[in-house]
């Protein structure tokens, strides 16, 4: 094992002051992002949000990541464009296990990272919404881990969520958009 002890790092003049790490190698420093994985989802798709306490993944936003280190922290961010009934909650899922919900309330259908937007006049026709959800996970192993965002009904009724589109349309006044998932591994 070789150790370089120094106060300062500089790129060489020959390399135009650039230090290049070879691909697939990692420099670990606590607090730094050591990899970023992202996925865009723009298919106009409908997913079920049912009343049976089961959080059903919005599969178009699945992201798999193999961590560099087992003790890393994982920051999950979703930006979702959708239209749905407001009695829907969203959960984070890791490899089939629901991990992202309000643990004080427990894993019940009205418990999530957040709820669908309640739009003016309870519009469920032509006006999608755009929401940001976040979860922080420490899985404890390198994986690979598949992260998902799921949804379920918070009442006895069954609903659907229409992704990347308005409930009706698309046409004039019925907008479509794009959704994203970003996963960052943070060194501890």
């Amino acid at each position: 094992m070789s150790t370089l002890v120094t106060d300062e790092l500089q790129g060489s003049r020959e390399s135009n002051h650039c230090i290049a790490m070879p691909n697939n190698t990692t420099l670990y420093a606590p607090g730094q992002t050591i990899q970023t994985v992202w996925r865009k989802f723009q298919t106009l798709a409908t997913y079920n949000s049912y009343n049976d306490n089961t959080s059903r993944p919005i599969a178009g936003l699945n992201v798999s990541i193999t961590l560099k280190r087992a003790n890393s922290k994982v920051i999950l961010k979703w930006w979702i464009f959708y239209e749905a009934h407001h009695d829907i909650t969203f959960q984070a899922i890791r490899s089939g296990t629901v991990i992202g919900f309000n643990t004080d309330a427990g894993n019940v259908r009205w418990s999530g990272m957040g709820a669908a937007d309640y739009e003016h006049s309870h519009d469920q026709n032509s006006t999608p919404t755009y929401q940001h959800h976040c979860w922080i996970d420490t899985p404890g192993s390198v994986g690979p881990h598949t992260y998902q965002i799921g949804s379920r009904s918070s009442t006895g009724a069954n609903y659907d969520i229409r992704m990347n589109r308005s409930w009706n349309g698309p046409t004039d006044n019925h907008e479509v958009g794009c959704s994203w998932c970003v996963v960052e591994e943070i060194a501890v």
């Binding site: 150790t3 790092l9 290049a20 790490m21 990899q35 004039d172």
Partner: protein, 184 residues
């Protein structure tokens, strides 16, 4: 010149300082960040035709270090607009940011304004993301744009309500743009 190492340690204390004028290219890491902030309170017209109206105060110009990098664009915008206004992204005035599955229709974008049914005194904040493969190391400017999703043109108020540029009950805000190069 190459040095093969297992560990890097500070000679003393707990810091190793990297020369700020130099680069470290490291796959998967953010290797440069460009930001812009605007306090300008102004209005634009979001038309239902064309590829969107550029919000020029939020332009982001970046020169990637590597062609295989990804540029992560994120704008956080304070504004007021009709809920049928959508956001788009252009690169050097070419439309790139919309739902390409659907195609370049006027109702195809990244994000719509929220539906609060108040088009006078209540601004809102939206965050718009886009990821663009760098492709080359040429400098480029990313432009956030607005377009109407119908045949009606709407006014877009940046950092202000539609009623005024600031008054009691008519809030003003600040908008930001961030471009981060994730090293390929």
């Amino acid at each position: 010149m190459s040095t093969t190492l297992r560990n890097l340690e500070p000679r003393s204390g707990n810091e190793i300082v990297f020369n700020a004028a130099h680069q470290m290219q490291h796959q998967g890491k953010v290797v440069q960040t460009i930001t812009t902030t605007t306090h300008t309170r102004t209005t634009y017209t979001a038309s239902g035709s064309g590829n969107g109206t550029q919000i020029t105060q939020l332009n982001l110009t970046i020169t990637p270090y590597r062609a295989d990098s990804t540029i992560w664009l994120r704008w956080t915008v304070a504004y007021e607009a009709h809920h049928e206004v959508i956001f788009l992204v252009q690169r050097d005035s070419t439309l790139i940011g919309y739902n390409t599955d659907l195609g370049n229709n006027r109702w195809s974008g990244i994000v719509t304004a929220q539906y609060d049914n108040d088009y006078s005194t209540t601004p809102q904040v939206s965050t718009i993301n886009w990821f663009d493969p760098a492709g080359t190391t040429a400098a480029r400017t990313y432009q956030l744009c607005v377009r109407s999703a119908s045949s009606t043109s709407y006014t877009f108020g940046l950092n202000r309500s539609l009623a005024s540029a600031g008054a009691d009950g008519q809030e003003v805000g600040v908008s930001h743009g961030i471009a981060r190069e994730i090293c390929g």
